[in-house]
């Protein structure tokens, strides 16, 4: 089923926002095809009428009370920022 070509690798890389050099696309396509070909053995398994697992934990989602218990820590939030100005994170502009 899987037949990942160079163009597909480039598309996935773009979706994942990872720059991959042109000459690396082909070898990566090979690796991904190998792995996907291997995982496709799952096709043998009959999963009719099987619900996909939603969590291994047999529990209900706990709800938090609507109380303000956090925030007011601008310095902590920005502490590790590569660039912060005037209390904002600063990033290169989006180029359209």
């Amino acid at each position: 089923m899987s037949d990942i070509d160079k163009a597909t690798v480039a598309k996935i890389a773009r979706l994942a926002r990872i720059k991959i050099e042109e000459d690396k696309l082909e070898p990566l396509a090979g690796e991904l095809n190998n792995i996907l070909g291997w995982v496709e053995q799952l096709d043998e398994v009959n999963t009719d009428d099987i619900e996909p697992m939603s969590s291994v934990v047999d529990a209900k989602l706990r709800w938090r009370q609507d109380e303000v218990t956090d925030g007011d820590k601008q310095a902590s939030v920005l502490k590790n920022a590569p660039n912060a100005e005037y209390g904002f994170f600063a990033v290169p502009k989006v180029i359209e």
Partner: protein, 491 residues
């Protein structure tokens, strides 16, 4: 005086209590051992000043009669756990320079009990690997060698096992997504314990695959594992998947009595081509269990062979999303492109920050979730995962615990499998099924292979029945009487 680094946690606890030793002495001995173990590359950040400060506090606590199991015990922390103000990078370049403003719940629980932090431990980048060769900080060496040849410590908790096996920590935190505690424990003759998914909080633990990640421990003995697990386990409201159940006294479960207990032997784990000595060790384990009065029951886990492919869809899918936050905006590495914009920054940062294996998994994960493929891969895998969990559920109607080998081989040499991702993935063939089902499990050192390398046996239990896993592990440990130690070539 005896070498304090050779003590078990349980012994040290008793000596601390009696006042025969102080945490400061214990800690100083370990700081020295950490320094002497540089060749293992187990520590990627050392915190000796902090350790001594914590040791003094622990000594005060002991004096005040407030000692608990881990008070004054020097441990190492896997780099996956956030430690406030201290290097926390999951051994990835993309978290370059990151020092969190918060503490993970697991490490906080240790500090609350008075444990002492020696430093941060090496690991596979974002816990993705089975040999600790994907760390940005270089590979970890296994204290155990094949003659003069280096071996890998297993992964991803390579630094955790190497530090404990190499007497550079009394215990270490670790994390298991598909076997990252049990497989390296098997490779290093240590005791690795992974609790039920939801037993330990994931708060502050850098996420790899959220539905699988679970914290656990590496120690040299089963009792030490029980003491340390009891410290780090417990409900945490900050993690929605943490389950609100009381933490049992794990140490009390070590009664040594498994008479009448039913131990399951999954027939599907007899892999074709598995080394004979692993089959033999497994058989030996079965004999030990019988001798201790347990009843051996053959069981079937029919979907076992599909566990690895399932895992290699689910885990990368979750990882591709979990690792999207590493974008160079708020922390860690940022690579900008001359004249480029935001998207160029993302692409350059993530290209430079992630290693090959991480990229590979992000790519696979992105692909299996993408439009047109979701049903065929991700949804299919989550259905098969349910079948795998059902297999265990059915088996546990008949047995109390399951016994298998931990890994299909002993530690291998660096580079031996790193060119073939699938060969590397096969390391986790015995550990992944239980991870997919969220079950508690351990790896107990049980013997040596022909090359003198350790081999472990895996014990799996029912959800929330860590006590049985500990109990059986304790009996196994006693029967195996694993006393071999690596030659301390690194000193």
């Amino acid at each position: 005086m005896t070498d304090l680094t050779k003590l078990t946690i349980a012994d040290a606890r008793d000596l601390l209590k009696k006042g025969d030793i102080t945490s400061r002495e214990l800690t100083e001995a370990h700081i020295e051992a950490v320094e002497a173990a540089d060749a293992l590359n187990a520590y990627i950040a050392k915190t000796p000043e902090m350790a001594l400060e914590m040791a003094d506090k622990a000594d005060a606590k002991i004096k005040a009669g407030e000692q608990t199991g881990m008070t004054g015990i020097p441990v190492g922390i896997k780099d996956l756990f956030a430690t406030k103000g201290v290097h926390t990078q999951a051994c990835s370049h993309i978290l370059d320079g990151f020092k969190p403003e918060y503490e993970s719940t697991v490490s906080q629980k240790l500090w609350d009990d008075g444990a002492v932090m020696l430093g941060k431990l090496n690991m596979d980048e974002f816990a993705m690997g089975s040999s600790n060769e994907t760390s940005y900080y270089g590979p970890v060496k296994n204290p155990w060698r094949r003659g003069d040849t280096d071996t890998v410590p297993g992964g991803s908790s390579g630094g955790s096992v190497a530090s404990v096996a190499g007497f550079a920590a009394m215990g270490a935190t670790a994390s298991d997504t598909g076997g990252s505690i049990r497989q390296p424990a098997s490779f290093t003759g240590t005791f690795g314990f992974k609790p039920t998914y939801g037993r330990c909080s994931r708060y502050g633990m850098v996420a790899f695959a959220s539905s699988l990640d679970q914290a656990g421990t590496i120690t040299r003995t089963v009792r030490d594992g029980a003491i340390m697990m009891e410290s780090i386990a417990g409900f945490d409201a900050k993690d929605s998947t943490s389950v609100d159940l009381p933490v049992p006294n794990f140490e009390a479960a070590l009664t040594g009595d498994i008479r009448g207990m039913k131990i399951g032997i999954p027939q599907e784990y007899h892999l074709a081509g598995m080394p004979g000595e692993i089959e033999a060790l497994w058989h030996q384990g079965i004999e030990w269990m019988k001798a201790a009065g347990a009843e051996i029951v053959d069981i079937n886990l029919p979907h076992t062979k599909y566990a690895l492919p399932t895992y290699y869809i689910v885990a990368p899918a979750e990882a591709s999303s979990n690792l999207a936050r590493y974008d160079g905006v708020r922390y860690g590495l940022r690579e900008t492109v001359q004249g480029g914009g935001l998207v160029d920054m993302y692409e350059a940062t993530r290209a430079a920050g992630f290693g090959d294996e991480v990229k590979r998994r992000i790519m696979i994960g992105t692909y299996v979730l993408s439009a047109g493929y979701y049903d065929a891969y991700y949804l299919k895998a989550q259905k098969v995962r349910q079948l795998i969990a059902n297999d265990f559920k059915r088996a546990f109607e008949k047995v109390d615990a399951i016994l298998t080998p931990t890994a299909p081989s002993a530690a291998f040499a660096p580079g031996e499998k790193s060119d073939d991702p699938i060969a590397m993935y096969l390391n986790d063939v015995f550990t992944v099924p239980a991870s997919l089902a969220g079950l508690p499990g351990s790896s107990v050192p049980a013997g040596l292979d022909a090359n003198g390398l350790p081999l472990g046996l895996q014990i799996l239990g029912k959800p929330w029945d860590e006590e049985t896993v500990f109990k059986v592990s304790g009996v196994m440990e006693e029967a195996a009487n694993f006393t071999a130690k690596p030659a301390e070539w690194w000193r």
